[in-house]
């Protein structure tokens, strides 16, 4: 067992840190967060420098590296700024569905642009009135000549108002039993006839990634936009969720680390009652707890990413990493606010938005109860 990052991983970490330090402007981030916009120029620059597609294969202009290297970028970007960092790492959200399962021609058509930061993507999975339960979906894709015709409504789609392409979970066989066996993933380009986007939400956290609802009314897409095999949609979605949960774990880890860095700096210089805050025993112990939790979350997250790259991933590892890293981010950012006192509550001191972003990480792609259901399914197995 080797717990050290190798030379190239260290270089990636360093390059990501230098990029974030040079390009992430605090004032711009605050302003764009209010407007719920992502700085397009930084998306493109991080694309050009290879950060977005680091885990994409070389045939689509990706970095040819693993999810592990992607996690290092997630962590580093979010450490510098949780809102912009996570938004950059979500610029290609759900495009992994195409990367891992798509036909060569489909990959070639869209993925190089995603990698470059020229195109952004999102995934449309959830539907009204069913919570996180995807065992049934009402959005349908029906064959019509060489095309598919899509009808239905998806809700809470991250960046649904700005993404250039959507990966949409559809029912393609109404008679399938179980119904999950009749689901397929479709690639839909934004702006097609019959698409309407509404209900763009102001958000608590992840403010550069507003949610939107997307309605499909007789939206026609070419047959070649089917991602993977027909009927495989549910399974591919679950695989993607596992991958994405590890990505979110990486973001949460950086969010926790970034808030910790700021709190540590603060308590070392702030004096109250004639002493530095860092000299109070309870402050010292708070820092000790925070650092320990981050360390634990880091190894769980790194291990999940390593398993993914070595084809040893099981759903529960991704869920454990996501749940633990996000909980850690919540606890650490919460404590960071408390350590900064009144300043912690002020936008200017940043930790408040790390806290809000931590909550986004904890809820998005399934709150803790969902992760626990997945973990329990996996460790208990089928009962006799």
């Amino acid at each position: 067992m080797d717990f050290k990052l190798n030379k190239s991983q260290k270089e990636i970490q360093k390059a990501a840190w230098e990029f974030a330090r040079g390009e992430f402007d605090k004032e711009v981030i605050m302003e764009l967060s209010k407007e719920q916009k992502i700085p397009d120029d930084i998306v493109m620059k991080s694309g050009e420098l290879g950060f977005i597609g680091i885990h994409y294969s070389e045939d689509v202009d990706g970095g040819g590296m693993g999810l592990f290297e992607h996690i290092l970028v997630c962590e580093t970007f979010c450490r510098k700024d949780s809102t912009l960092g996570s938004a950059l790492m979500f610029s290609g959200y759900a495009a992994e569905c195409i990367l891992r399962n798509g036909e060569k021609s489909l990959k070639k058509k869209f993925l190089p642009q995603i990698v470059d930061g020229q195109l952004t993507s999102t995934g449309a999975f959830l539907e009204p009135k069913q919570g996180y339960d995807l065992s049934k979906v009402s959005t349908t894709a029906d064959p019509n000549g060489d095309d598919w015709v899509i009808n239905g409504k998806k809700i809470l789609v991250p960046c649904g108002n700005t993404a250039g392409i959507y990966v949409v979970l559809c029912q393609t066989d109404a008679d399938a039993n179980p119904s999950t066996a009749g689901m397929s993933l479709m690639l839909v380009e934004a702006g097609c006839d019959g698409i309407s986007v509404d209900n763009v939400s102001q958000k608590l956290g992840g403010r550069m990634m507003p949610f939107a609802d997307i309605t499909f009314e007789n939206v026609r897409v070419p047959g070649s936009n089917l991602i993977g095999k027909q009927g495989n949609g549910y399974a591919l979605t679950q695989n993607f969720f596992a991958e994405n949960r590890i990505q979110i774990a990486g973001q949460a880890l950086g969010t926790a680390q970034g808030a910790f860095d700021r709190a540590l700096d603060y308590v070392k210089q702030r004096e109250q009652f004639g002493r530095k805050l860092a000299q109070f025993q309870v402050t010292r112990h708070k820092l000790a707890d925070m650092a320990s939790k981050i360390e634990a979350a880091r190894y769980l997250t790194y291990h999940a990413a390593w398993c993914f790259d070595n084809k040893k991933i099981e759903a529960q590892q991704a869920s454990m990493a996501k749940m633990t890293a996000a909980r850690t981010a919540m606890e650490v950012t919460d404590e960071a606010i408390q350590l900064l006192g009144g300043y912690g509550y002020m936008t200017e001191y940043e930790v408040e938005h790390f806290f809000r972003d931590a909550k986004q990480a904890e809820i998005f792609q399934g709150p803790p109860t969902i992760q626990k259901d997945i973990i329990a399914d996996s460790i208990i197995g089928k009962l006799k």
Binding site: G131, D133, K203, L204, E271, G342, E352
Partner: protein, 381 residues
């Protein structure tokens, strides 16, 4: 069995207040949150209906209500899920300084306006380098003939932009003993040398006009000193008790409200098979656990209110209540949001604002770490 005994008069008052808030406050909250301030008119409406300073003497236009009226207002305001119209700070924290320590002239001059809502008040203790550590304050007050010259800056001042009258804590530089150096001064809006700084951008409290205040050779008449010279620290310590109790009261009401929303949401929302999510065992246990905590908080708090009304020494219990209930708020807000799921991440869901607003409760009026320090000290540890 109720610990606190609300009379029919109290109940009628609560009902009248609920109606008032439903008509005059709730419909405007979203706009006030966007504007980052509450119009002064809203304060005047509240005053006109008799909802400000309910405890004040009829001599000045008050209704001479007992403390339970203050409790009722604090609870019902908390249920409006906004903090801009911060009447609790005005009615039950700031104006009591004037009532308790002011001269007859000061009371005559200010009390009627405070009760009618024509005078909005604030208290300026906190400074950039002196938060919970009040003894560290730097603002100065120097006597110059018949005037006092104030210098210094204050921060995180609630009602800072709207305030017509500010109680400012400042030190007399000549006095070496910090605990005898602080006095309180009344500074009116428009006094030369008194400037308001930025309105501060915060995680929550969007409609609340929290601001920085600056005093630069700000001259006020000598008679604007509040209470006795050098007694500022004692006055603050005395009144901070009720301030912390008010935080606990507002915090408790907020926790109850959030839980009510959550239970309602879980009963109404279903999985794909149409089963309400309140039927899931994990959700049921989560709700039951949270209800237990909230009920424990209620029992502890109501007993504390009864003791406070009876004039007992409740320094330790007040510190415990402020810390435990405001921590409870943060715990409950986060856990309830989990049950709302992704919808809870949107500002269309009231829990998002509640979570942002409540996060400051464990910080202001003395951080919860300071609360624990006070409790430890008074417990003789």
């Amino acid at each position: 069995m109720d610990i606190l005994h609300y009379t029919d008069e109290h109940k009628t008052f609560r009902q009248r207040l609920k109606t008032f808030l439903a008509n005059e406050v709730t419909p405007h909250v979203d706009q006030w949150e966007k504007d980052h301030i509450v119009p002064k008119k809203a304060w005047q409406k509240m005053g006109k209906e008799g909802f400000l300073c309910t405890w004040a003497s009829p001599e000045y236009g008050g209704m001479d209500g007992d403390f339970l009226y203050s409790v009722i207002v604090a609870e019902e305001m908390a249920k409006t899920n906004h903090t801009g119209l911060c009447s609790m700070l005005h009615s039950d924290i700031v104006v009591p300084y004037i009532n308790s320590f002011g001269s007859d002239e000061q009371k005559k001059k200010y009390m009627p306006g405070c009760i009618s809502g024509d005078i909005i008040t604030a208290v300026a203790m906190t400074e950039p380098d002196a938060g919970s550590d009040l003894a560290g304050m730097q603002a100065t007050a120097e006597i110059d003939g018949d005037e006092i010259i104030l210098n210094g800056s204050k921060t995180f001042i609630t009602n800072g932009i709207n305030a017509d009258l500010v109680i400012v804590a400042a030190k007399t530089p000549a006095e070496e003993n910090v605990y005898q150096a602080v006095s309180l001064y009344l500074v009116e809006d428009g006094t030369p040398g008194f400037k308001r700084g930025r309105q501060l951008d915060k995680m929550g409290f969007y409609s609340q006009d929290t601001a920085e205040l600056f005093f630069s050779n700000c001259r006020i008449p000598k008679e604007n000193i509040l209470g006795q010279q050098g007694m500022g620290f004692m006055m603050l310590m005395e009144k901070l008790q009720q301030e912390r109790l008010m935080c606990a009261i507002g915090g408790q009401a907020a926790a109850e409200l959030i839980l009510e929303w959550t239970i309602d949401f879980c009963k109404k929302n279903t999985d794909a098979a149409g089963k309400p999510i309140s039927k899931l065992q994990a959700n049921q246990f989560a709700i039951v656990e949270m209800v237990t905590e909230v009920k424990l908080g209620r029992a502890f708090l109501d007993k504390l209110i009864a003791e406070h009304v009876a004039g007992e020494n409740v320094v330790v219990e007040t510190s415990l209540a402020k810390y435990w209930i405001t921590d409870l708020d943060n715990r409950i807000a986060s856990r309830c949001l989990d049950l709302f799921g992704d919808f809870g991440l949107t500002e269309d869901c009231p829990i998002a604002r509640a979570m942002r607003d409540l996060r400051v409760m464990s910080i202001f009026a003395g951080t919860n770490e300071v609360m624990k320090g006070i409790a430890a000290k008074f417990m003789g540890l």
